[in-house]
């Protein structure tokens, strides 16, 4: 049922969740959700353990729907979403281990930051709500402005306040829906730092985004959603390697690009070379072939290699391929 | 995009890429943003477009089926007595008792307002917020006023739309009664000339009711972007004064206060104008009759309209 470039079952290509004593295993088992005639999530299965996982997809692909189902705010039309083995639908107890940072901006504007986080701490039944709130606010670096009404906060501050509210009960799972929305670059770096720290404590973090740089920088694993289907799962470099029917591109700087190019093109494994801007671009269908061929050819031609770099192994190219081809084979 | 694409090639002649005859071999077209260079229709057109659009909103035309439910439902209920009455009289005529049926029918030009008064209130309360609430909620007023439309024009257009809508709701049933009577009588031209005398009264009452209800409901609706709250406010304005008047009237000392309350009660005022216009016996609940009641109706409308205009003039956008 995979919709990726290989026929591998996405759920097996995702690394199994490490069994930590703290738990934090998220499992989606053949989850679908439709609204009338529109299928928003189509038979998605995956399992996630501790660490940071990015849920990547274009707008309308179903990321928010998946997060809402995981958060127990939407009922799956089919399948089951569980956190540590407990289905999330209709189970208020699951919120003791779950922290949710929703996408929608709405926050009670009449409260100030401290009151808001303390309120959430109380709702969670935390033992010392005020202290927990202060800790959470400190973790997101909002302690200074905690006394101001939320209505006066900037967008970045509001995101951080939401995060503080989600952290106040020390949840083992964190779900964030588009956490980088509307943050400026400095705030983004800050958020990335924060999330890395949380993951370092052994939490399971799942965040959704359509901003590739953030996902590339932050996520250890990615799940690519397109049109409600899981298009790929795992480390994105691995996914790239699995896309065998698409040629890889390398950028090479050498002492004699033209000579190298003419030698390389003679080999059937290489099907295109291009000289631009003082660099040599080489395209090959066989990843391994070039790694063997290049040093041999360079040595034989007495060309020194200064730089060899895979050019299209960015998340963007992976994503573009997965999404551009309709998320499936051509 | 309007306008023809502009070829970006050079002029014919010695330019590269052109054939010997000077026609370009290839062109790159500039498909970017273009200004509208056509005729602009100006303020009057803007106002009439707004009136038309608001009138359609009054009946939910151009929106989902659910939006049509309340206005058409209420208008249909307003039509119902007329249709039923005509049907009954027609049936009675078949049975030969036409004249008696006609005589005892409670559905007449004069009584029609009384029958559908509540429906008119509900119509105004439901639809006036529809006209104003959306623009307030989504803050499009700054967009609207940045064009040829003036603020006062906006207000006038909305008022005209609601007035026309209420006129339709009232006059269509009256028309049905008229046609029924004319067509079912043996001497059509005599029936017509007999009824034509009632025309000024019918139209006058409908007009007074339309203007009064439209201005009050729009004035209240302009205060809230939340349509349901506006509806509640309008209903309170229609329903509360008669209740208050009812309570006050009960006691001897408060009878005058009761009269005052009835004076600001749209339903009582319109009852009075109806009686005056149709020359009905006076059961003077508001203590004024005749033309004074119409004057009061006009005065209340004027005040409400003034409130509306001032509110929109002052509204920060």
């Amino acid at each position: 049922m995979a919709a990726g470039p290989t026929s591998a079952d996405p759920s097996t290509s995702a690394p199994p969740p490490a069994s930590t004593p703290g738990g934090g295993a998220i499992v989606l088992d053949r989850v679908s959700r439709w609204f009338g005639n529109v299928v928003a999530v189509n038979d998605v299965s995956f399992s996630i353990g501790p660490g940071i996982t990015g849920l990547l997809g274009p707008n309308g692909a179903g990321k928010s729907t998946i997060l809402n189902i995981l958060a127990g705010l939407l009922r799956p039309s089919a399948g089951v979403a569980t956190v540590d083995g407990r289905p999330t639908w209709r189970d208020p107890e699951v919120y003791r281990r779950l922290g949710l940072v929703p996408e929608r901006e709405a926050m009670p504007g009449y409260l100030n930051g401290e009151e808001f986080v303390t309120y959430r701490a109380r709702l969670q039944g935390v033992r010392d709500p005020a202290a927990a709130a202060r800790r959470a606010l400190q973790a997101v670096e909002l302690s200074g402005v905690a006394r101001r009404p939320i209505g006066t906060y900037s967008k970045g501050m509001r995101q951080r306040a939401k995060l503080a509210g989600a952290l106040v009960h020390d949840p083992v799972v964190l779900l964030l829906d588009e956490p980088f929305n509307g943050l400026d670059p400095r705030q983004r770096l800050h958020m990335i730092d924060l999330l890395r720290r949380m993951a370092g404590d052994g939490r399971t973090i799942l965040f959704s985004s359509h901003i590739l740089e953030e996902v590339e920088r932050l996520a250890e694993r990615i799940l690519v959603i397109y049109a409600g289907r899981l298009a790929a799962a795992g480390d994105f470099r691995e996914i790239r390697r699995l896309m065998t029917d698409r040629p890889h591109t390398f950028t090479i700087r050498s002492s004699d690009d033209r000579r190298l190019a003419s030698e390389l093109i003679a080999d059937p494994a290489i099907f295109a070379t291009e000289l631009t801007d003082g660099r040599l671009s080489v395209r090959t269908a066989e990843y391994g072939a070039l790694t063997r061929l290049l040093p041999r050819t360079a040595r034989a031609a007495s060309v020194s290699l200064f730089e060899v770099r895979p050019t299209d192994e960015s998340l963007e190219s992976v994503f573009g391929y997965l999404v551009g081809q309709g998320g499936g084979r051509r | 995009m309007s306008g023809s694409p502009t070829p970006a090639t050079a002029a014919p002649g010695a330019a590269p890429g052109t054939s010997a005859a000077g026609a370009p071999l290839g062109s790159i077209y500039d498909l970017g943003y273009r200004r509208y260079e056509g005729r602009r229709l100006g303020r009057r057109h803007a106002v009439s477009a707004l009136v038309r659009d608001s009138l359609r909103s009054c009946f939910g035309i151009g929106r989902s089926g659910r939006a049509k439910l309340i206005p058409f439902g209420l208008a249909g209920l307003a039509l119902l007595p007329a249709v039923v009455a005509i049907g009954v009289v027609g049936l009675a005529q078949q049975l030969g008792t036409g004249a008696q049926a006609e005589a005892i029918s409670p559905v007449r030009y004069a009584t029609y307002y009384g029958l559908i008064a509540q429906l008119l209130f509900m119509f105004a309360a439901a639809q006036a917020p529809e006209l104003l609430g959306r623009d307030l909620r989504h803050r499009v007023l700054s967009l609207l006023f940045s064009r040829a439309l003036r603020r006062t024009d906006y207000v006038i257009a909305k008022v005209v739309a609601v007035v026309v809508a209420l006129l339709l709701v009232q006059l269509v049933p009256q028309l049905v009664i008229f046609l029924g009577r004319a067509l079912s009588s043996t001497d059509v031209s005599r029936a017509v000339s007999a009824d034509v005398g009632s025309l000024p009264a019918v139209v006058g009452q409908a007009a007074l009711a339309a203007v009064l209800l439209a201005s009050i409901s729009l004035a209240i609706a302009s205060f809230s972007a939340r349509r349901s709250y506006a509806t509640a406010g309008i209903i309170v304005a229609f329903v509360l004064p008669p209740l208050v008047a009812g309570v006050l009237r009960n006691g001897a000392s408060a009878r005058d206060a009761g009269r005052v309350a009835a004076l600001v009660s749209p339903s009582d005022v319109l009852d009075a104008t109806n009686r005056w216009l149709f020359g009905l016996p006076d059961s003077s609940r508001i203590g004024v009759d005749g033309p004074a009641s119409a004057a009061i109706a006009v005065a209340i409308s004027a005040i409400a309209l003034a409130v509306l205009v001032v509110r929109y003039r002052r509204m920060p956008t």
Binding site: F35, A40, N59, G60, S64, T65, N68, A71, G72, L73, L74, R75, R90, P92, E93, V94, Y95, R96, L98, L100, P102, E103, R104, E105, A106, M107, P108, Y110, L111, Y119, R120, R122, L123, Q124, G125, G165 | Q118, M122, S228, Y229, T231, A232, I235, V236, V239, L240, L243, V244, G246, V247, L248, N250, G251, A252, S253, A254, A257
Partner: protein, 242 residues
């Protein structure tokens, strides 16, 4: 926990503008009472009439409607309900907290309105007894109306309009046409209780349900509405933003 949520709800619902308008509305019967004083007719009749027309038919249902639909509905509408729902608080506790705010708010406004109006008009023993009876009736009405409207706000997004139609059409127009609707009309419970307590001479509120039936029906409606609200809250789904 219930108290925490109730306090937060009260802060959200009783914003300045809304509260002021409701207080003004609740003041109207009292003002009218000042004008209607000392009329020739019996104090009991005037009191009953004023309270019935102005408070029971107008102030009570409208205040209950505004507070009842706002208690839960405004949070559900603007998306801040997520913060309460994504917590381990039992759903029945949430409903109770919201009901508490709505009922207390409604009873304070409508009850005080009844009390002041009644005290202004009541000049003799029987009519004073009527005032207290009315206040108790209004209490029953506050509880049942609010329960009804809170449940309604979970059933439909247009709870306010539907509630308004219920009050105006069902309890207003239809009730005068069909006697059977008495059993399903909160207003009837209110006047039934008011009529029944203290047995004032005659039936100042007209021909109403006997007090036992009124209380029983009110209790049934309350329980059903609260149960419905809890169940709907358990199965509440976030609305897709797309």
């Amino acid at each position: 926990m219930i108290l925490t949520i109730a306090v937060a709800t009260a802060r959200a619902v009783l914003g300045r503008r809304r509260t002021i308008l409701l207080v003004l509305l609740a003041a109207v019967p009292a003002l009218v009472a000042l004008l209607a004083r000392g009329s020739g007719v019996s104090a009991t009749e005037t009191t009953a009439l004023t309270i019935d027309l102005l408070v029971v038919r107008a102030v009570l249902p409208i205040v209950a409607l505004v507070l009842g639909t706002a208690a839960l509905g405004s949070e559900l509408e603007d998306g801040t309900a997520v913060y309460v729902l994504a917590s381990p608080v039992a759903r029945w506790q949430i409903v109770v907290a919201k009901l508490l705010v709505a009922i207390v708010g409604t009873f304070i406004l409508a009850g005080v309105s009844t009390l002041v109006t009644g005290l202004v008009l009541a000049t003799d023993g029987p009519s004073l007894g009527l005032v207290w009876a009315s206040v108790l009736g209004v209490l029953v009405g506050s509880v049942v109306y609010c329960a009804l409207f809170v449940a309604l706000s979970l059933v439909t997004t247009r709870a306010f309009i539907v509630g308004l139609i219920y009050v105006l059409v069902w309890e207003g127009a239809l009730a005068s046409l069909f006697g059977g609707t008495r059993f399903l009309s909160v207003r009837q419970y209110v006047v039934g209780v008011a009529n029944g307590i203290g047995q004032p001479p005659g039936a100042p509120f007209g021909d109403t349900l006997p007090i036992e039936s009124a209380l029983m029906l009110a209790a049934v409606v309350l329980v059903l509405a609260a149960a419905l609200a809890v169940e709907r809250l358990r199965a509440w789904e976030v609305r897709p933003a797309d």
